[in-house]
Every structure is written in structure tokens, then in C-alpha cells.
């Protein structure tokens, strides 16, 4: 099977080369070693082949982006990250097919950037172009000067991709009693009724860049409805029924400069979002509330170090104590900080970088120092660490997954 996939790719590539199609991409070796809790296991041994095939035909163009992952146990995974056709007119661009759509001004957090779901096979650690999953649908952009009106229609629902239960990145799920899963309601059948639609107006001006957006969608994360029934042994049976629920969202973002500072902001209001709770007293283990998430951030340079920092707050409106406990909220509000510092030296051949998420409510963090060296224009070497701290929360749950890693990337 593996040989067949490679053969097909080579045949396609060879055929397209003859028609002056543009090829680019990279080959990457990625090795990671667990460093926490006395472990020293090579948890990641991955080779990746990323190929971008693009062809511009004047008023139309296409892109195909297959990625081959060769993992530890000699397993081979082919992911077709994007495959779409572009049609370009005077003031209108139309994109049809599987595509990644990115909205908003925030970095590393997803507030209005909710069209393309996330591939969390390795939590939030992959590069952001690999975290996003392509969505199948149509996007229409209408341009009026520096104003853009964007319409997205997705007839096929794509959910967040969670890691396998045996993965070290499987999220902690603390149920009161061991559950049984009923996946009968998990599927969303592609239909007009089940379509998702999004709209955005954005402008790029001398004073400020901004976006206003709205969406009628399915929450990409399944809601875990629970049912508790007495069993024959006098105990209780817990059944979890994952289900994707409708959600309406309105929001916006902006970016401007104030002297040496770039100021960024983003916010969204989610109408009727379901929250999971482990509290058995809550009906179905879920509660539906309006929800707000927003961010303020700034980028600036200090002593030749590029610094970027963001404050993010999430709030469940009309909060009830009964929502507790879960892994993402232990209060009405959740406050988080991100911090990025980057220093380039040797004519930008060597970069030192530090990226951090810190969650105030759970006192947990993810710290990511990294050294990047451009050995040549084509070869980039990286060495870094992922350090998790805390005992709970979205980062603290991976406290035993501290790791160091190295990457060698050949770009072509």
C-alpha cells in the first residue's frame, strides 16, 4: 500500500513537471525524547514529506498539498491537507475544495479563527500550518479597494481531530465512574441543512486593520452528554454520548501601530455553547451558556529582541458553580498569557526563540525554548524543548510529557 501511494505521487509529480507546475515543500526529520519523570524514551521518530503542487492558469489556478508522515512503528500516513481550485475575476475570487481558512489577529489562540478545526494529534505542538485541518467547501471574496467581503459555505462538517486514547497527548477525561461510549450521534450527515456558513468584512487602512465576522456553525469539539442508569449489580452505569452541537458566533479583531508598538485585539461572542462537567448533579453532564473570549496583545522590539505578548480572557456568562470541575474552567473567568521573544543573530542565520503559554487559573504553563539555525538556504536545523508545568488544566495535564526534540528540515 505504502509503495503504491509513493508510486502514484511520483507518477502525478512526473506528469505535472512536464507542464511547468510549481513544486515546493520540505522533507523533515523530527526526533523527540521524553524528559519528564525519569523517562528518556524516543517518543517521536518521524519523517515527513510535504509537497505543494501549484499551477497558475491565468484566471484560474489550483493547489494540492499532500503530506506523508512516516512514524515510529514504520507506519505511513498520507494527509491531503489542501486541494482546491481558484477562479479569479476582476473583483471576485472563488476558492472551491478542501482549504485551510485563517481569520483573526491572535497568535496561538483561536478566537474568531474557528473555521478550520485543529488536528491535536500532538496537542498544540506542531507548526500552525499543520495544526489546522482543511475544510471542504466554497469561499468567495469580493474586493472593494482595500475592503474585503468574504463568504464561506461548508456543506461538509469537519471536527477537531483528537489523538488516540493510547497517545501521550490524549486529553485527560475524569469521569466519576468508568464510562461506556455511545458514538451513534457523532456523525453529521452532509446536507444543506447541516451546512455551516461564515461571513467576514475586513479592511486594511492607514490607521487600523480590522475584521468583523459572524458564523452559524457546529462546535468543532464534541459535547459529552452523559446518562447514568442503575445496573443489575446495584451500581450505576455511565454512558457518554458525544454529539456536535450548533453554535452561532459574532466577533472581530483589529491591529494598529502606536509608535514602536503594534497593538492587536480580538474578541468573539459565542451564543449557546455547551460546556462539559464531571458533576453528576448536572443534567446530562452539560450546561448551555453564552460565552465570550477576547485578547489584547502587543508586538515590539527591545534591545533587538522581537517581543510579542497577549492577554486572553474567557468568560462563561450567567455562570453557575455547578459547571465545575472541568479541565478548561475552574471559575467564571479564565485568564491566560502568551509570551514570545525572538532574537536573530549572524545575519539571521541563527535565531533564539522562547514561546510560553501561562494559565492563571490553573497555574499551569507550556514553555517552548527553541534554537533555529540555517545551515544553508535549504537546510534548517532546530533544537528545542517543550516543558509543561502544573498539575491540571490544558497544559498541566501533560506534566509528564516534558520533552526535548531536534528537527532537520530540507526546503525545496
Amino acid at each position: 500500500m505504502k509503495t503504491k501511494i509513493i508510486l502514484i505521487l511520483l507518477i502525478i509529480a512526473n506528469g505535472l513537471f512536464a507542464q511547468s507546475v510549481d513544486f515546493s515543500g520540505y522533507v523533515r526529520n523530527y526526533s523527540g525524547m521524553l524528559a519528564g519523570n525519569g523517562n528518556s524514551d524516543f517518543i517521536i521518530q518521524q519523517n515527513t514529506f510535504n509537497l505543494n503542487i501549484e499551477k497558475n492558469l491565468g484566471v484560474s489556478s489550483f493547489k494540492v498539498n499532500p503530506m506523508l508522515y512516516h512514524n515510529n512503528q514504520d507506519s505511513l500516513t498520507l494527509k491531503l491537507r489542501e486541494i482546491y481550485l481558484d477562479l479569479n475575476f476582476d473583483n471576485i475570487d472563488i476558492r472551491l475544495g478542501k482549504q485551510q481558512i485563517v481569520w483573526g489577529k491572535a497568535d496561538g489562540v483561536f478566537i474568531t479563527d474557528i473555521i478550520s478545526p485543529k488536528d491535536l494529534y500532538e496537542f498544540l505542538l506542531p507548526d500552525f500550518d499543520e495544526i489546522r485541518i482543511g475544510v471542504i467547501g466554497a469561499k468567495l471574496n469580493y474586493y472593494l479597494g482595500n475592503n474585503t467581503f468574504e463568504f464561506v459555505w461548508l456543506p461538509v462538517f469537519t471536527s477537531t481531530n483528537l489523538p488516540n486514547n493510547n497517545s501521550i497527548w490524549a486529553p485527560q477525561m475524569n469521569f466519576a465512574i468508568p464510562p461506556t461510549f455511545d458514538n451513534s450521534k457523532k456523525e453529521i450527515i452532509p446536507s444543506l441543512e447541516n451546512s455551516e456558513i461564515f461571513m467576514k468584512y475586513s479592511a486594511l487602512t492607514e490607521i487600523v486593520d480590522f475584521e468583523l465576522m459572524g458564523g452559524y456553525m457546529f462546535d468543532d469539539d464534541a459535547v459529552m452528554f452523559s446518562t447514568i442508569l442503575p445496573n443489575n449489580l446495584g451500581g450505576m452505569n455511565l454512558t457518554i454520548t458525544p454529539e456536535y452541537k450548533r453554535l452561532s458566533v459574532a466577533g472581530g479583531s483589529f491591529s494598529t501601530t502606536l509608535g514602536p508598538f503594534v497593538l492587536r485585539g480580538e474578541g468573539a461572542y459565542y451564543f449557546g455553547k455547551y460546556f462539559n462537567t464531571n458533576n453528576l448533579a448536572v443534567d446530562n453532564g452539560t450546561i448551555k451558556k453564552d460565552y465570550v473570549q477576547y485578547m489584547f496583545g502587543t508586538d515590539f522590539t527591545l534591545f533587538d529582541i522581537n517581543i510579542s505578548t497577549q492577554f486572553i480572557q474567557k468568560a462563561i456568562l450567567d455562570y453557575e458553580e455547578i459547571i465545575q470541575p472541568n479541565n478548561l474552567f475552574n471559575d467564571e473567568y479564565n485568564n491566560m498569557l502568551t509570551f514570545l521573544a525572538k532574537y536573530s543573530m549572524l545575519n539571521e542565520t541563527l535565531d533564539l526563540e522562547l514561546f510560553t503559554y501561562y494559565d492563571f487559573e490553573f497555574d499551569d504553563a507550556l514553555v517552548r525554548p527553541r534554537i533555529l539555525y540555517n545551515f544553508s538556504d535549504a537546510i534548517n536545523l532546530q533544537f528545542g524543548a517543550n516543558i509543561f508545568s502544573g498539575s491540571s488544566g490544558q497544559f498541566g495535564q501533560y506534566n509528564y510529557n516534558d520533552m526535548i526534540y531536534g528537527k532537520v528540515i530540507y526546503s525545496f
Binding site: 520540505y26 481558512i101 500550518d129 479597494g145 501601530t257 514602536p260 515590539f300 522590539t301
Partner: protein, 258 residues
């Protein structure tokens, strides 16, 4: 009669030189350079060759478009090579108004995002080269004090030698000295001195061409004397006044590409 004509011409040249030597100040000379017309719009392919002290070279290729809209000059650049920055684009809007900062954006294809960036970091080096953003842009003459030092012949060209000292004491250069070709108003050579007054870099213009009646610098070399690193910049396929569409300088084109 012929002798008279030659005498008259010589006299005129002497008078002309006297005029410049006596009348033009350092500021006026630099303003002439700043205001030299390079056409309403320009398209060009830029190649930067970066060479380190060991002789290892890296090459960056860029396609650039610029257009003068009157009060604002807009420029858009598309990175062609190396592979890891391919399809990255950069847009700059530069304003005539004194004190108004440039607006700048960068489109990062891996993130699929256009990001506004601050133009305040003009002392940052452009793509690992020896040119800062400020070196590449048009620094407004009134940001510096200018002093005409002398006149000198460089590579057969008669030049004014002007020393420019920044009014902002925190500026990355303590001073620059520029050799400016008389009448053509082209900076032929420039020395950059660091904050300690030590020579940091030397810029040499190796070639300029008359394209559609405009003098365009097409080959420069910047040598960093302190780390023995150099950058050669070559402009090719230069086209002037082709009537670039106004819509070229928008986010749509940054994302879509050339």
C-alpha cells in the same frame, strides 16, 4: 569664433561649479538626492547575494513593484527564493508628511496571515542582509544635520562629500558620509559609522543606468567592515512608468501573489 565658444563654455562650467560650491548647502544637496525623480512607478527583479567572512554565499530573489500616489508611495515585494520564504510578501506605504511613520505589512504563507508590523524598527536588517530597512528606504533629509565637507573625484565622477549627523541621538548610526555625483544627484558611495564613531559599513554603487530617461541604481555592494560580511544587490528587468494598477498594492495581491 570657435575659441570664443570654447572660452564661453569653460567660463559657464567654472561659474556653474562656483555656484554649487558657494550656494548649495549640505541639506540642499541631500534634498536634491531625495527629490531625484525615478518615475511614477517601477517594476524590477531584485537579487541579493549575502557573503560571510568564510566566503559562503546565500541568495535571495525578490520581485518588487512600487508606485508614487502623490502623498503616499506604495511598494510591494514578493519573495521568490529561498524556498522557506517563498510566497512571503511585504508591503510598505511611505508618506510625504513629516513625522508620519510608514505603514508596513507582511504576509506569512505558512500562517496564512497578513500581519501589520511596526516601521519603527528601521534599524532591523532586511532578510539577513547588510542593509537595514532605513538603508533601503528614503530617509527624510530633515532627520539629519548635513554638512558639505569637500568635493572629490571618485571613479571619474565629480562628487560632493556630505556628512550627515542624525538629530535623534539614539539612531543606529552616529554619522554617515556620502559621495554624491554632481548634477546627477546619485549617492555613489556611503560610509556608515556606528554609535561609537567607528566605521561600520561602506556602500558602493557599482552601476546606474538610464532607463526611460531616469537614472536608476542597479548594482550596489554593502560591506560590513566589522564582521566581514557583504551584500550585493542587483536590480534586473527594471521597467519604469508601465502604469501599474493601483490594485497591485492591496492585501488581496499580497496573499494571491504576483
Amino acid at each position: 569664433m570657435k575659441t570664443l565658444k570654447i572660452m564661453a563654455m569653460l567660463f559657464a562650467v567654472i561659474l556653474n561649479n562656483e555656484y554649487y560650491a558657494q550656494k548649495l548647502t549640505g541639506l540642499e544637496i541631500v534634498e536634491n538626492v531625495y527629490n531625484r525623480s525615478v518615475g511614477e512607478d517601477m517594476t524590477a527583479d531584485l537579487t541579493m547575494t549575502l557573503t560571510n567572512s568564510s566566503g559562503d554565499s546565500r541568495v535571495r530573489k525578490i520581485k518588487q513593484f512600487s508606485k508614487d500616489f502623490g502623498r503616499v508611495e506604495k511598494k510591494i515585494m514578493f519573495f521568490v527564493t529561498p524556498a522557506d520564504v517563498k510566497n512571503t510578501s511585504f508591503m510598505n506605504w511611505s508618506y510625504d508628511e513629516e513625522g508620519k511613520d510608514d505603514d508596513q505589512w507582511i504576509y506569512l504563507p505558512a500562517l496564512k496571515k497578513t500581519k501589520r508590523i511596526s516601521s519603527d524598527s528601521k534599524s532591523d536588517y532586511f532578510m539577513g542582509s547588510d542593509f537595514t530597512y532605513d538603508d533601503l528606504g528614503d530617509r527624510q533629509p530633515k532627520q539629519d544635520n548635513h554638512k558639505l565637507l569637500r568635493e572629490e573625484n571618485v571613479n571619474g565622477e565629480n562628487c560632493f562629500v556630505v556628512e550627515s549627523t542624525p538629530k535623534d541621538k539614539d539612531y543606529m548610526y552616529s554619522k554617515t558620509i556620502t559621495w554624491i555625483i554632481k548634477d546627477k544627484w546619485i549617492g555613489l558611495k556611503k560610509e556608515f559609522y556606528d554609535e561609537d564613531g567607528e566605521l561600520l559599513k561602506i556602500l558602493n554603487v557599482d552601476k546606474y543606468e538610464n532607463i526611460n530617461g531616469f537614472l536608476i541604481i542597479t548594482h550596489t555592494e554593502m560591506n560590513n567592515k566589522q564582521n566581514d560580511h557583504k551584500t550585493i544587490m542587483e536590480l534586473k528587468n527594471v521597467k519604469i512608468n508601465t502604469g501599474i494598477d493601483d490594485g497591485k498594492f492591496t492585501e488581496r495581491i499580497m496573499i494571491k501573489g504576483m
